[in-house]
Symmetry: D2
Subunit: 288 residues, 4 copies
Amino acid sequence: MGIVLGGHQYGKAENRLVRIHRESDRHEIHDITVSTTLRGDFEAAYLHGDQSAVLPTDSQKNTAYAFAKEKGLREIEDYALTLARHFVEDVEPVRGARIEVDEFAWERVQVGGEGHDHTWVRRGPEVRTTVVDVEGGSAEVVSGLRDLVLLKSTGSEFAGFMTDRYTTLAETDDRIMATALVAQWRHAARADGSWAGSVDWAKSWSDIRQILLEQYATVHSRALQQTLWEMGRAVLEAHPGITEINLQAPNKHHFAVDLSPFGLENENEVFFAADRPYGLIEATVTRS
Amino acid sequence: MGIVLGGHQYGKAENRLVRIHRESDRHEIHDITVSTTLRGDFEAAYLHGDQSAVLPTDSQKNTAYAFAKEKGLREIEDYALTLARHFVEDVEPVRGARIEVDEFAWERVQVGGEGHDHTWVRRGPEVRTTVVDVEGGSAEVVSGLRDLVLLKSTGSEFAGFMTDRYTTLAETDDRIMATALVAQWRHAARADGSWAGSVDWAKSWSDIRQILLEQYATVHSRALQQTLWEMGRAVLEAHPGITEINLQAPNKHHFAVDLSPFGLENENEVFFAADRPYGLIEATVTRS
Amino acid sequence: MGIVLGGHQYGKAENRLVRIHRESDRHEIHDITVSTTLRGDFEAAYLHGDQSAVLPTDSQKNTAYAFAKEKGLREIEDYALTLARHFVEDVEPVRGARIEVDEFAWERVQVGGEGHDHTWVRRGPEVRTTVVDVEGGSAEVVSGLRDLVLLKSTGSEFAGFMTDRYTTLAETDDRIMATALVAQWRHAARADGSWAGSVDWAKSWSDIRQILLEQYATVHSRALQQTLWEMGRAVLEAHPGITEINLQAPNKHHFAVDLSPFGLENENEVFFAADRPYGLIEATVTRS
Amino acid sequence: MGIVLGGHQYGKAENRLVRIHRESDRHEIHDITVSTTLRGDFEAAYLHGDQSAVLPTDSQKNTAYAFAKEKGLREIEDYALTLARHFVEDVEPVRGARIEVDEFAWERVQVGGEGHDHTWVRRGPEVRTTVVDVEGGSAEVVSGLRDLVLLKSTGSEFAGFMTDRYTTLAETDDRIMATALVAQWRHAARADGSWAGSVDWAKSWSDIRQILLEQYATVHSRALQQTLWEMGRAVLEAHPGITEINLQAPNKHHFAVDLSPFGLENENEVFFAADRPYGLIEATVTRS
């Protein structure tokens, strides 16, 4: 029985890139962090220190910046697809490429009631994300978001749960429910493996985000699990082009503070917002 | 020559507190981090371990939560003033109190085009701040903000600067200028030391924030220094009740990437957004 | 085609727990962060908000603390195995449990040349880790470490690499190589599925850590890939009970600063330590 | 009454710099973050955008790197003094300079029982610090440390404290006391304003650090306040060249978990380590 190299990959992580489109005086901004990861036959680099099949991570970084100029950067899914295909098609030893992009949101500064041409203020903490994976001729595209921080001050309960020797939690029919949502949804590939013009990425993203927000607000929640399900179900119902959605939701606990020692009644008005620990609920909603 | 205790203070830092006002179905939320610091004659605790004049930091925490119920929590300046005065007036050994509050912004989730009654999404990363300091009968109130991340893609230059043996920087007449602004402005106290009803804190804060944004956008900047001055000057001109404003602005460098090795011309379109180091410009604008 | 619930799990993340063993005056400390994740048939909670099969994450937290007392906490692998088996065996709806533990290192404060009985100073930033996964009768144990920050100031080169249109990197035969290593190695299970007494976890961990350090120091590196391979190979050679090891190594770039504009020659003496981007090399070394 | 520019300063923050001394095969490493801040008459830059008296922060950065080569970098106090004096003496508009340096600790990797010549592993999280301020001919030197994380599992009580309406805390005669210490001590200047050869910075620093550790361990603490005093007092007693020391100590709360609901008695064995809020105790010990 021998010792062998198993799975391996490499790339350049967290390239911070800002692309300004200045074709007119009304500039546009795209602010991203892009990470590239390549798969292929790089065994010689590990076993013998032979770099002849290794495109430096520095070159990957250069490519990310050059493509933002050459190919443009509007929708992160298009940008990532172009980058991934380049590595797989043009760099001989590369068999697969995974491109991850985070996009940070900016909005125009309001001056005299109008959005300014070339000045922005960061919106956040929310981040739009994509992960594109190209392997040979096929390409997978996942869009999503993270750090979408949500809170509802009523319309959430938690009761009727299982108990064991270690259970001390009281049931509640009214609590704060808060989370920092991570959502990732997979787009159905077209039969020919192409994505060109197939999806209006910006519209798809904002429509799905709006569904997530509305479900969070309007579903009377008997548990975070139920809310996640209703979020995912609603997205898949409204978007036939989405094959599945994965949701990860920390339960950011807000504990009603016991004010009775001070002669005060706390009717769900004053809360301690805890950092750690937190519940963590994860689910995928898919199609059968 | 002896060894003696010099300046000393203590308190409870970073109490995370959420206050829901639910007098009607249309809830209101205030989400803050509050820190309390007390000054007074606590020497015996240091020198002899005698705690008889020391109100536990745990009691300070309890007070912060109890006051959010008893006194309410709408404007952070009012809340901090009430807390500070309580410690100075009601806790015998305390001579001075400093209350720092950070408030995190939430906006109502839009459902069917209307803001939802009890569901919010975090806006950010911007934070509204206050520091209130009460010493005996006098009270100082500083309002402010931090993490107001701004970027302009043109209208900024940097040229004509001093050079020395270690200078390699090229002049530029067009660059990205970006910062994460910290601003703190001091309110003029009334003659009687009172603040009751004297300031519309919310309106004052949002008006000043708007001035900062507009100046950042519209001043053609020959350096971040100049922009800070114009920001501060404009605030003091428009707000006679503000005695001074302090501005701290990291120069978040965005370097235009040299794409010429790839046969591409980068006309201020593609930038590397650097983390560290960063310039740091600080100034106070005051009245003579 | 219907919409259905796919994979799902839930648990309590990042319970901060300190266990003091005080059987004698010479105390012992274990400082951990433990996360529990349960798998099973929790579908009713998602689809109907029915919690009757859901053990609250709060109860999971309580169990983690109670077990630290009841079962003790010495080696994190033993603690995690006990916790995982409890959930799977004693909580009816649970079919699988994954327990992740991070352990923070403390060393005794030296007083008069001897380690103090009950006072420690944090060593770090290095963290010892384990991930235990129990599914029915089988249990997998992975041990590891993260944030092991290493740097060598010579004995590292990078040359002979592939180039393309986007390559500008110069070859180097002498550079700083630095990383913050993440390593995770899998222990071979015994035929009967039991782990009791099978591994001296502490000794195994520190022996493997020492191999990783020595390989990093003594291998003349033609690339980080090669160093990772030699690290993994050496661990598997020396430890027949380890079936595979996964290594993730950010290439923390240290760029030699060009001092020639100042009339100085930088012979690999002065470096800028960059934050982002960074190379990221990942590999598994396994047995055939 | 006019609007005027008040206090102002500028500089380059957080230059990450690694200096390797490689005069022999046994290399030495110094890994620092250095920030420079200049004071002087830079009013024209603010008021008129006139940069002619402004040395770019980029030049300051270059100077920090060049000096690490030209002047060497062994003790951070010497390095900071040299840099500060350069700015004040050689750059005409500069009247004052403040240099802050953080130094990160590395220790040699052990190979075959001996420290390796050119490979290190980060020690941490502790950081050695200095702040040097030069104004005209005078220079102040403060040395210190931060993130010295300490914990004692007994020998600490908290009782006999003041109570008020908001006090619910129980007294304790045995608790965990933990902190992440920040300490800064000021060196007495020599009559001639010179520091050359006046202090063995490395020995002074490690001697003082050892006193802090020993006091933390051996003082039976009736409150964190008392421990801070005893730390500071001991440093000033042993080091006549130190004029004062400032100590900032978060009280990192470790709460004994109530295990009685599970039929278990927790005799100060199992603790929840809280993140926030935390007590914050600050004191200066000085000479009369």
